[in-house]
């Protein structure tokens, strides 16, 4: 019997033969680690890029979005729990290999591919090969991830990635342990590594009432982002809706999200947005220098993009992103 240790994510699962990891999709078969979900997505959709959410990446474009079953975290409030917390043999999977994915995305009018819904880290090989092929054929790649990955595989993947939205779930290790079955530190490391590349990095923080909505903790998080990643990085505070194991909690009050946005701005963050909440002030992009409206949005729909070559048309300030 040969045991293997998976070194893809910080769980570092040690697997005896015929055992699968916490992610549900990697297993030890005769002493060799195998992926059950390569080219087998259970979700394939065309989405507006704003839905990821990516607000500073090709606004108004359509992005081909895929996911396989499984996840390496166990968020009690996961919105996609029906596929993220499912074994891949129980979901309805398509066969869509990387070489077929790119033409399919193109045929659907997309200029980029999002590896999303669950977490691309667990279908690493599939995402990696697809990213390489997409780049070769002039398409761009976006990861929507919790960032719970080891440094080596992350560094190997990033040259093939153009944008990422990282879900920073909270700013305490306790929250990560209790609510998500993970740790905070590896996620912060992922963010620091990503911020040093030329990809577009955006961060989402889903505010769960009574769990990660302490204004002091939100301030600490915003300060850390400003000091370690830069004030240009867009931050999305997203409204919680009852899901999965937290169905009895109420949705996040609008006032909590508005307070969070003000805290982020007071810490110097230039691009702060509110998600799952209609509020024109926090769904548009404004020039951080002169305040001019740059991108007008209504929900996931883009009404107008006023940027000229990535710059504010009034004061010519360069705006973070790919436009």
């Amino acid at each position: 019997m040969t045991a293997v240790e998976c070194r893809l994510c910080p769980h570092r699962c040690v697997l005896a033969e015929n055992e699968r990891g916490k992610c549900r999709v990697r297993w030890n078969r005769n002493g060799e680690l195998k992926s059950l979900v390569y080219g087998r997505p259970c979700a394939v959709h065309v989405d507006p890029v704003e839905k990821k959410p990516m607000f500073h990446f090709r606004p108004g474009s359509r992005i081909f979005s895929i996911a396989t079953a499984g996840c390496n975290l166990r968020c009690k409030y996961c919105q996609n729990w029906s596929i993220s917390q499912a074994d891949p043999e129980t979901t309805r999977n398509e066969i869509l290999l990387p070489e077929d994915l790119i033409p399919t995305a193109r045929a659907n009018g997309c200029v980029s591919i999002a590896y999303t819904y669950t977490d691309p880290i667990i279908y690493y090989e599939y995402a990696f090969d697809s990213c390489v092929l997409a780049h070769r054929q002039g398409m761009e790649n976006v990861l929507v991830t919790a960032g719970y990955i080891e440094e080596k595989p992350l560094r190997e993947l990033l040259p093939h990635v153009d944008g990422a939205n990282v879900d920073l779930k909270g700013f305490s290790d306790e929250f990560y342990r209790e609510m998500c079955g993970g740790r905070l530190k590896p996620v912060l490391r992922t963010l620091e590594i990503m911020a040093k590349t030329d990809m577009v990095l955006e961060i989402t923080n889903l505010v769960v009432p009574g769990h990660n909505d302490d204004p002091k903790e939100i301030r600490e998080m915003c300060r850390w982002i400003a000091q370690n990643l830069g004030t240009e990085i867009p931050l999305h505070f997203s409204r919680f809706h009852p899901h999965n194991q937290l169905q009895r909690l109420p949705p996040t009050p609008a006032s909590t999200l508005l307070d969070a946005a003000k805290i982020a701005q007071s810490e110097g963050l230039k691009h702060v947005y509110l998600g799952n909440l209609r509020d024109a002030t926090y769904e548009n992009t404004y020039c951080p220098k002169c305040g001019a409206l740059l991108v007008e949005r209504v929900g996931f729909r883009v009404r107008q993009v006023k940027l000229q070559n990535g710059r504010c048309p009034k004061c010519s300030t360069s705006i973070y992103g790919r436009w």
Partner: protein, 80 residues
């Protein structure tokens, strides 16, 4: 000192000892619970797959049998 007072005093001191024992036990239980909780997070219980079912799904094309990257062999004949 009357017998009633004596027994009251004994009861009180015994009660204190019992209370302290309970507190120690409670502390030990809390520590054990904390330890098991951490282990659950850091070393999640692995699950054995239904190999026959997985093979059937692979055969039908619904699952893949692709070699994964980023892993190492721990040791031959390693007791789990």
């Amino acid at each position: 000192m009357t017998n009633a007072l004596k027994s009251k005093k004994i009861l009180r001191s015994n009660g204190l000892i019992v209370l302290m024992c309970l507190l120690v036990l409670l502390g030990m239980a809390a520590s054990l619970w904390q330890q098991s909780r951490l282990e659950t997070v850091e070393r999640p219980a692995m699950r054995t797959v239904d190999v026959e079912r997985i093979d059937r799904e692979i055969g039908a094309g619904r699952l893949s049998d692709m070699p994964a990257r980023h892993w190492i062999v721990i040791e031959e004949d390693a007791p789990k």
